[in-house]
């Protein structure tokens, strides 16, 4: 596969890893956070940590929009889906995310709710067109990568004069989440996590460009390297971060130059600005209330807003008190440090969303990496 396979070359990766090992100062420890769930998944799935020297470690960040969606909003989606006239369209990733009282969308579907898994917002539009008697609600989640597709769907719905299509908007923004981690990396019982630098999100950055990270890098004096999703991209980015730390720099660098530009996708940004505005505050699972961190539909598009049409009133719901998703999302704890990991909380019976989403730190560790908890057989 062109433009994919070249970036999966294990031999080249081991060579770059050897350079990392050589350039990592032996008297210090480096901790880098990959913000984006796609990177978490790539690191686990390819076993990238096996290539790194012992003093270079990765800490998983909260960039998995399924993981940061608060329970209350999934409860809302389930309530909407249980309305007999509603057809709820959702990405498959959300089907097993635990809501209140052990509910989830998959169980709601089994109980008779009309829930349809879609690959694209265009599928939801198509359903609204072909089933005019149904109230089609699209469960919109995601960072800046999935927001423009929602915007295009809204524009199409307007153009086609669809009266039966609305969006339940849970889109969130990346920079406020990075800021939240840098602002308060303190454990409840004391102690801090030190993050020496960030691997910046790949596809979010194709939309936003690299500019939004400049102020963060400067203010917190931490380097950011925007990296692609293929394993070689990640390894290269780790080397670039290491070099910045060694040289005392905190710049924004772009490893994903083949797709990411400084300005980003201007058309997509324009669409987002037209349809959406910032909420004053929004609850994030694990990160708490963050100001100016999420989007809602503008008044001009109120007729396409599910929250307004169905008078959605979100009731905040707390996580299981033993669930450590919150600290894990902040990179303060590792999955194995959560008391529920592997016992009450497994992919079959997830207690928190870090375990449900394949990009969640817990799911990634369970599915690909939990064998590292003890000695592996030498290869």
């Amino acid at each position: 596969m062109k433009h994919i396979d070249e970036y999966r070359d294990g031999t080249l990766a081991r060579s770059i890893a050897a350079t990392i090992a050589r350039e990592a100062a032996c008297d210090r420890h480096y901790q880098f956070m990959e913000f984006c769930g796609g990177h978490t998944h790539a690191i686990s799935r390819y076993g990238i940590e096996d290539l790194l020297p012992g003093n270079v470690q990765m800490v998983h960040g909260p960039g998995c929009p399924v993981c940061v969606l608060p329970i209350g909003r999934i409860d809302d989606a389930i309530k909407l889906a249980m309305r007999p006239e509603v057809t709820l369209c959702t990405y498959a990733d959300l089907m097993r995310v635990p809501a209140s009282a052990g509910a989830n969308l998959l169980k709601a579907k089994a109980a008779g709710a009309d829930i349809r898994m879609v690959y694209s917002t265009l599928d939801a539009i198509r359903i609204a067109e072909t089933e005019p008697h149904r109230e089609v609600v699209f469960f919109a989640i995601g960072f800046e990568t999935t927001t423009p597709p929602t915007a295009v769907a809204i524009r199409l719905a307007r153009k086609k004069r669809l009266r039966n299509f609305t969006v339940f908007c849970n889109h969130v923004l990346t920079p406020p989440a990075i800021r939240a981690i840098l602002d308060a990396p303190v454990l409840p019982e004391g102690g801090q996590v030190r993050v020496d630098g960030f691997i910046g999100p790949a596809h979010v950055s194709t939309i936003t460009g690299t500019t939004p990270y400049l102020s963060l890098a400067a203010e917190f004096a931490k380097p950011v390297v925007v990296a692609g999703f293929e394993p070689l991209d990640v390894v290269q980015a780790i080397l670039m971060l290491l070099r910045q730390v060694n040289e005392g720099r905190h710049d924004v660098e772009n490893q994903y130059i083949r797709f990411v530009t400084t300005a980003g996708n201007v058309i997509a940004q324009r669409e987002m600005a037209e349809m959406f505005e910032l909420r004053e505050s929004f609850e994030w699972r694990g990160l708490g209330e963050l100001p100016m961190s999420a989007l809602r539909l503008r008044d001009a598009y109120a007729d396409l807003d599910a929250e307004r049409r169905f008078a959605v009133e979100t009731v905040p719901a707390a996580d299981n008190p033993a669930c450590e998703c919150g600290t894990i999302l902040r990179g303060l704890k590792k999955p194995a440090e959560c008391k529920l990991f592997g016992t009450l909380c497994t992919p079959e019976t997830p207690m928190g969303s870090c375990m449900v989403s394949p990009e969640g730190a817990c799911a990634a560790h369970w599915t690909y990496g939990r064998f590292r908890a003890r000695d592996r057989v030498a290869v």
Binding site: G63, A202, A268
Partner: protein, 82 residues
């Protein structure tokens, strides 16, 4: 939310759509978020939409950067894999 892959544009279709193909598997996706898409472009596709276009020169530069980062000689010593 970040699963996306670069894929070749095989055919431009009406209403801002395009057919893209990877190893004989093809899909129809929206190109509403990009301008000036041409046949032969490689697009980054995510949830049915093209988000960005591959810059082939920058792609070559990326591979070159990676090779520079590699320890000289080590690549030859390592086992070659198919």
């Amino acid at each position: 939310m970040c699963l996306a892959i670069p894929i070749l544009v095989e055919e431009l279709l009406p209403d801002d759509m395009a057919r893209v193909t990877l190893n004989g598997v093809s899909k129809v996706v929206s190109i509403a978020l990009l301008e000036d898409v041409r046949l032969g472009d490689y697009l980054l596709i995510h949830v049915g939409y093209a988000l960005a276009r591959l810059d082939p020169e920058e792609a070559e530069r990326t591979i070159a950067m990676m090779r520079e980062a590699a320890v000289p000689g080590l690549a030859d010593m390592a086992e070659s894999r198919p």
